[in-house]
């Protein structure tokens, strides 16, 4: 039988028609779609029984309480804890994504490593712990015996009051080095302000749970300021209160950030001039006589003009403010209508519990000391110190110390000689001091640099200078658990556990309004060859021997914590049980849970994860340990350091506005931070890249925000690639036109352009901090970065 083409086609058509009347094409299509859902390389949490573990999160100095859901010892979800006093149910995007930081192998150092490429390339090879220890110990021994022990420098980004940081300082002292540097961040500035004005060496907090009017000078409440979990939750609570009790937030910043957009009022101020506005407001309050006269008279020093013991008369704070911060002068400096000052003053008067807060953006980049003092003086003249809803300046956590540090002759001799790098005031030096010394001095000031939980490459203003300095350091050791950008410059890595794998603690979480100590035991097994930092320091000390070894007579970091918390228990203050009444109710503790048995109390503490002491009525009656025994509006402490801080007149010892000297030409260039992107030492969980809008980051290009009028003047269009040039360097950014930006100012987000971590974080965008020019704060020398002027050219 001959079959022609037509017949054959009929056969095929018959087949096709037939197939459509069978389930085959429909089921196959559906099955193929489902097949794409189940590709084996798509990660899926394991199935099984859920177990829950409670812990805290220390990715930022927040110490939020978190709950971890586990399946077969593997964490599958992080959630917040409603009952935990610090964050009471809130959590931030970075904390939520913490499991990605734990399990992404490309983000972590999985074992000790030795550099195998060029500095900055981040190429390492695995070595054993024995080899890592022997390399470091040999170098340190040589340093002690043949050179100067002070050539060992430590850059410490660990929370200052924490046990790990205490151990780092102990190690340095026993070794014989006083080359200890903190990061030049807002925490350093705030502690300095607390010391200068209240005489207290410790951190301040804000009792925001009780405030009813929040005057925020640039604090990014919705950008991650303070403890993000706490604040994000609190914002919701503030807005949920009934009409009579609603909390009013007034945001003062140049850019319409999320906080500004959602605040009750946004005041667009010329960047860097916040202190002038603050003092203008203080002047208005003083002029009206509507400030807390009792508090000022009883508890402050330097308000009125005064005469000293030698009979010399001094101008007081009041006279200074009345003269220098008239509405006209303030308007000229800040660009704000004088009427606005009157409105704010009226609102402050009528509020029952107002508070002024500061700290640009997230509050990690440093403010100036004078400007922080100026903003804080609003709180002082209103008497909002140690009051509900105000500023809490005394938060004592009575952890025990670790006993005397034993120093041998070599160490004693070295420490007697002072520091190689000029020390700052209040005895704390920071990285900017070190960078300057490395670049400027002819003699070497550091031989071996140790990095502890610090990633200044990404956030330190003018980080291009940091890079130059790091290249000159002979040997760099990083203890970071993550492959951060600064560690790419290290020669040796001794990796710490990542946070959920070790004992974590947080002393006085950032900005909390009461004394608290959060602690948790490890909740996840450690799958890699890392060690807890505390244990590394103990072992290192052991291998160095002698007095250094004897200064670390501990078996483990856990023992250190047990020893320190014993003092907390025996002090019989505060509570290790979460009370029914939340701590911001200012009520006495009824049952503290402290039984007086160290072992039992330790177990109770690990179960609740917190010790805290709420404020009570008595908290208002503290003695300020300043020279005058009062809150100093004119600082006698600064007087002692007159020469170091260049304070020539009385005005120089008072809160004030000091403009940064910037060039006249060019646009002002300001960085900004986001709540869903990390610009600190902890990496952003890579999944957060999905939350970054296309007008901020598109593929590899980062965008700079310009007001449309500014863009028009410069002849720039949306999406154009431009070169942004400051005195320090050049960056390539794309232009995004937005009304969010103040005319004449360009904004770009921090935390991008990384060189460390994995493919999802690396090389996306550029690191804005590199080209920020900075001037030294006159008091602590921290980099003041909001005066960067840039020129913009088309590419």
């Amino acid at each position: 039988m001959e079959i022609n083409r037509r017949d054959f086609i009929k056969f095929v058509v018959g087949g096709i028609a037939g197939i459509h009347v069978t389930p085959l094409p429909w089921k196959l299509t559906d099955d193929i779609a489902i097949w794409t859902q189940n590709w084996p390389w798509v990660p899926v949490p394991g199935r099984g029984e859920f177990k829950e573990a409670k812990s805290i999160c220390t990715l930022c100095p927040g110490g939020c309480g978190i709950r971890l859901r586990l399946v077969e010892k593997r964490g599958v979800k992080i959630e917040s804890r409603d009952e935990f006093p610090v964050n009471h149910g809130g959590i931030c995007p970075i904390g939520m994504g913490g499991l990605q930081l734990m399990y992404d192998k490309d983000l972590r150092f999985t074992s000790p490593m030795k550099r195998a490429g060029q500095r900055g390339e981040g190429i390492f090879v695995d070595i054993s712990w024995d080899e890592a220890y022997s390399i470091l110990v040999q170098r340190l021994k040589e340093l002690r015996e043949k050179k100067d022990p002070r050539l060992l420098a430590a850059v410490d980004g660990l929370p200052y009051e924490g046990s790990e940081s205490l151990m780092v300082r102990r190690f340095m002292q026993a070794f014989g080095s006083n080359s200890y540097f903190r990061l030049p961040d807002q925490d350093l500035v705030d502690r300095t302000v607390n010391w200068i004005m209240h005489g207290i060496k410790g951190s301040m907090g804000f009792d925001l749970e009780n405030s009813d009017y929040i005057l925020s000078f640039g604090a990014g409440l919705l950008e991650g300021w303070g403890i993000p979990g706490r604040i994000l939750n609190l914002w919701g609570e503030w807005k949920a209160r009934g009409d009579g009790a609603k909390v009013k937030v007034v945001q003062i910043e140049s850019r319409a950030s999320n906080t500004a957009s959602k605040a009750d009022r946004w005041i667009a101020i010329k960047p860097g001039t916040e202190a002038a506005l603050a003092l203008g407001i203080v002047r208005e309050l003083i002029q009206r006589g509507r400030y807390n006269v009792d508090f000022v008279n009883e508890h402050t020093f330097g308000f009125g003009d005064w005469v000293d013991q030698e009979g010399k008369s001094h101008k007081g704070f009041r006279s200074m403010v009345m003269e220098a911060y008239t509405p006209e002068k303030v308007a000229q400096i800040t660009g704000i209508d004088p009427k606005e000052i009157k409105v704010i003053a009226t609102e402050l008067e009528s509020a029952k519990a107002p508070v002024a807060i500061w700290g640009r953006g997230r509050g990690e980049l440093p403010n100036g000391v004078y400007e922080s003092m100026a903003i804080h003086s609003i709180n002082i003249v209103l008497g909002r110190i140690q009051r509900p809803g105000g500023v809490i300046v005394s938060k004592e956590v009575l952890l025990g110390d670790l006993g005397p540090v034993l120093t041998d002759e070599k160490a004693k001799e070295a420490l007697r000689q002072g520091t190689l790098v000029p020390a700052g005031i209040a005895e704390v030096s920071h990285l900017a001091d070190l960078v300057k010394a490395i670049l400027d001095s002819k003699e070497p000031v550091v031989d071996t640099l140790l990095l502890f939980q610090a990633n200044p490459w990404i956030t330190m203003p003018s980080s291009i200078l940091l890079e130059k300095a790091l290249k000159k350091v002979p040997f760099i050791v990083s203890f970071s658990p993550f492959r951060d950008d600064t560690s790419c410059y290290a020669d040796l890595i001794l990796p710490d556990h990542a946070y959920l794998e070790k004992f974590q603690e947080m002393v006085n979480p950032k900005g909390l309004g009461y004394a608290a100590y959060c602690i948790s035991a490890p909740v996840l097994p450690n799958p890699y060859s890392t060690k807890a930092l505390g244990d590394i320091l103990i072992q290192l000390a052991g291998k160095l021997g002698g007095a250094i070894k004897e200064s670390f007579p501990f078996k483990s970091y856990e023992e250190v914590l047990k020893q320190r918390t014993n003092s907390l228990f025996s002090a019989k203050r505060g509570s290790i049980k979460v009370q029914k009444e939340p701590p911001w109710k200012w009520v006495e503790i009824k049952d503290s849970g402290i039984q007086g048995d160290d072992k039992k109390d330790w177990e109770t503490l690990l179960k609740s994860n917190i010790w805290y002491q709420p404020n009570t009525k008595e908290s208002a009656y503290i003695v300020f340990p300043t020279e005058s025994k009062k809150v100093e509006l004119m600082s006698l402490s600064l007087k002692r350091f007159r020469d170091a801080v260049g304070a020539k007149t009385d005005e120089d010892l008072m809160p004030q506005y000091r403009g940064l000297e910037t060039e006249k030409a060019g646009l002002l260039f300001m960085p900004y931070e986001m709540v869903n992107w990390s610009s600190g030492w902890a990496p952003s969980p890579p999944y957060l890249t999905k939350t970054i809008f296309d007008h901020i980051l598109l593929k590899q290009d980062l965008f700079m925000e310009l007001n449309p009028t500014t863009a028009k003047e410069l002849g720039l269009r949306e999406g154009e690639m431009v070169e942004v040039k400051s005195k320090l360097g050049v960056l390539q950014l794309k232009v995004h036109l937005s009304e969010v930006a103040m005319p004449g100012v360009a904004y770009a987000p921090l935390g991008f352009g990384r060189i460390g971590y994995d493919e999802f974080l690396k090389s996306k965008g550029v690191n804005v901090a590199r080209i920020l020019t900075s001037q030294k704060d006159p008091i602590v020398g921290t980099p003041l970065w909001w005066g960067t002027r840039v020129t913009i050219n088309r590419v």
Binding site: N4, T22, P23, K27
Partner: protein
């Protein structure tokens, strides 16, 4: 008028071939396709549900109703999650001693030797596993909805033999989710367990609001 050449002329052969193609496709689609699409996996050992569900034959499994007896082994944990196919510890609540079996079947003997004595978990195939994107709460349906197990799972509990686990080679899911009635035309509620089937029942029972996306795809 030109005559159409022979080789281009339409003929009855064409229509026969059409029919052949049509019928062939029907056979491929209805018979061969299901045979080929599913792989067969007998369970690692046989478990006689009918025996265990009969209170006269087996006394340890408590429960007044059939559903309660199902829930004795396929239990709800104290936090409300559903335990699914029981672990070995459930079986050994009664079958604890390998040297004294409770019956005379060869299956039990094999069970004791292979699993109880070594404490090894039986690697059961699960017939009703849903995709990971689906959040299904058993307790909402059983306790709140007061549904019987057999409404969704059929007469599984009265079977003497465990059915062979058939797995779709492309998707990896059990045939119970779609394929037994490959036409998709359902006779019983348990013939298909895809999204539309859940939605259909929600609508019928007056819970149409449970068909919102976020209820199941959290």
């Amino acid at each position: 008028m030109q005559t159409i050449p022979e080789y281009l002329r339409s003929s009855w052969k064409g229509w026969v071939l059409f029919g052949v193609g049509f019928v062939g496709a029907l056979i491929v689609g209805w018979v061969i396709f299901p045979m080929v699409l599913y792989s067969q996996h007998p369970q690692p050992m046989n478990f006689n549900h009918a025996l265990h569900m009969d209170p006269e034959k087996v006394s340890g499994i408590e429960g007044d109703s059939e559903t309660e007896r199902c829930l004795f082994c396929h239990e709800f944990r104290s936090d409300g999650t559903f335990a699914g196919i029981p672990k070995l510890s459930k079986c050994t609540e009664c079958h604890e001693d390998p040297s004294s079996p409770l019956g005379q079947t060869p299956e039990e003997k094999e069970f004791m030797e292979k699993y109880v004595s070594s404490g090894k978990e039986i690697p059961w195939y699960s017939y009703y596993k849903q995709p990971d994107c689906v959040y299904f709460s058993h307790i909402a349906h059983v306790k709140m909805g007061k549904m019987e197990c057999k409404t969704c799972h059929g007469n599984h509990g009265s079977l003497k033999v465990l059915p062979v686990y058939q797995q779709n080679r492309i998707t990896g899911y059990s045939r119970n989710i779609w394929g037994y009635r490959i036409s998709g035309l359902k006779k019983n509620t348990w013939d298909r367990m895809k999204m539309d089937d859940c939605a259909e029942c929600h609508k019928k029972m007056g819970h149409e609001n449970n068909n919102s996306c976020f209820v199941c795809h959290k």
